[in-house]
Structure formats: C-alpha cells, structure tokens
C-alpha cells in the first residue's frame, strides 16, 4: 500500500490540503500504540510500525516537493539517493547571486526589507516551478518524467535558499 492509498486519495500531485490533516489525525488515532496497550506483543509491534508509516506518509504528502519526489519514486525514478551534480550554468548563477545577496544582507541599511523582497522573489520562482512540475507530472510525454525530475532537483536549491532566509530572519529579528 503506497502513501496515497494509505490516505485514501488518488495517486496524483494534486492533493486536497484541507482534508489531509483530518485524515492524518484519524489514522493517527486508529494506529496509536496506546490503543493496543492490552494487546499481544505482535499487535503492539504492528501498531508501532503502522503509526510510523502514517507519520512518514503525512510528512511526505503535505509538502509539494517531497510529494512530487515520492510520485516519481512510484514510477521507478529514485532521486533521493542520487549523487550526480547539476551543471546548468544560468540556473546556478541565479542561485549563487541569491546566496551572495543573503550573505551580504547584514551590511544593508534595511536588511529586513531586502530579505523580505528576496523571499518574495524566491517564492515566485518556486510557485512557477511548481506549476511546471504539476504539468510534467500529469503529462504522458516521454520526456515528462525526466523534465519533472529536473524541476525537482532545481526546487531543492530554492527551498534550501528559503530555509536559509528564514534562519537569517530569526537572527536579524533578534537585534
């Protein structure tokens, strides 16, 4: 049973995020190890395993990036363990520029404003990548899966950048 089936939803990039948390809580309750406190050792063990699976499924399904990566893994494309590098110069230059801007942000007179416009810019880029990703995942073109994989690889850099911005925001807000 894959994670989509576990949550009783179609195997698709589109997920109803208003329903997902409710299903999660429901499955959490059903599989909570406390419920099986008086059960046999085997029942307890099964409950622990099932409960862990529910948690994994929820964390994978709720984020579009991990959901897309998981969808591709169901189609036999494993991105999680790949070690290959990417060499798309134009893309990497942009990533480099963003990181340079972030590294020098403390020297700006209005660092929090600059930070928030940088954050907007990256969110815009992520949003447009997610739209492309969705189209590739829905398409049955022969190159669609490889194109989806490339977008996922690129999105990992943008999400990493976003988390660095959040860290910086915390640091700057302490002043």
């Amino acid at each position: 049973m894959n994670y989509f089936e576990l949550f009783n939803i179609p195997v698709s990039f589109d997920v109803d995020l208003s329903v997902l948390p409710q299903t999660y809580q429901q499955l959490q309750r059903l599989t909570h190890p406390d419920k099986f406190a008086s059960g046999s050792e085997q029942e307890k063990l099964l409950a622990i395993q099932k409960n862990a699976q529910v948690n994994d499924a929820y964390s994978i399904l709720k984020s579009p990036l991990s959901r897309a990566e998981y969808l591709l893994s169901l189609r036999g494309i494993d991105l999680k363990h790949e070690q290959q590098t990417i060499k798309d110069t134009a893309f990497l230059m942009q990533q480099m520029e963003w990181r340079e801007e972030l590294a020098e942000i403390a020297e700006r007179t209005d660092p929090l404003d600059v930070l928030s416009s940088l954050e907007d810019e990256i969110n815009q880029s992520i949003k447009s990548d997610l739209t492309k990703l969705r189209n590739f995942l829905e398409s049955d073109h022969e190159m669609a899966e490889q194109n989806a994989a490339n977008i996922i690889r690129q999105l990992k850099f943008s999400y990493k950048m976003l988390s660095e911005i959040e860290l910086k925001e915390d640091v700057l807000s302490d002043f």
């Binding site: 070690q83 590098t85 990417i86 996922i152």
Partner: protein, 128 residues
C-alpha cells in the same frame, strides 16, 4: 557528526576564497550544484598559455565538507596541467579529508567543479 581535523582546518581557514573576472580569456569557470543538499560551488582557474593552472579561487555555499573539498582542490590544482587536474577524483578528496559516506557528494561536487572549469576552458579555446 564529527568533522575531521582537516575539514575543520579548511572550513575555518579556507584557502583561495574569491573569484576572478570570468570574461578574462585566461580564466576558466566551473559552476556545479548538488541537489541532494542544495550546495552551490564556483571554481575558477587561471590558466597560462601552456595549459598550466597558475592560480585557483572558489566560492561555495554549503556545508563544512563542501567548503573544505573546494578549498582543498584549489590547493591541489595549482601548478598542474589542466589534464592532470582533470584526473583528481572525488575518492582522493574524500580520503584526504576523511569524509564520512553521507558527505561523499561534497567531494563529487568538487571533482565535477574541476571538470566543469576545464570543459569551460576547452570550449573557449575552440571559439578562439
């Protein structure tokens, strides 16, 4: 996870950080990124007319192992021909820095940065 002493040394005192003018014909630029961790690395080589690497600089946004790997290769490539530099493998880097298996991709990044810079240099030579 504990970093080796060599990683810490390169991380705290990185060698050859910075960059050259990428439009200078004697400068080769290699840009690479590792999707596994979102690290980005730029390696620039200053190459003389005999194809010997005179100088190298890097800029890496990433973890300690990625920074140490790129710092190390800037030291290693100096004085080498571009063909010699291309033979540096990620295993050499990983071994020198005692990188744990989960950080092997950092050494792959550094190896690929050298190869990307050399490819950039060769593509420019064809154009001239």
């Amino acid at each position: 996870m504990a970093y080796s002493e060599k990683v810490i040394d390169h991380y705290e005192n990185p060698r050859n950080v910075g960059g050259f003018d990428k439009n200078d014909p004697s400068i080769a630029t290699g840009m690479v990124g590792a999707p596994a961790c979102g690290d980005v690395m730029k390696l620039q080589l200053k190459i003389d007319k005999n194809g010997i690497i005179e100088d190298a600089k890097f800029k890496t946004y990433g973890c300690g192992s990625a920074i140490a790997s790129s710092s190390l290769v800037t030291e290693w490539v100096k004085g080498k021909s571009i063909d010699e530099a291309s033979t540096i493998s990620n295993m050499d880097i990983a071994e020198e820095l005692a990188l744990p298996p989960v950080k092997i991709h950092c050494s792959i990044l550094a190896e690929d940065a050298i190869k990307a810079a050399v490819a950039d240099y060769k593509s420019r030579q064809v154009e001239v």
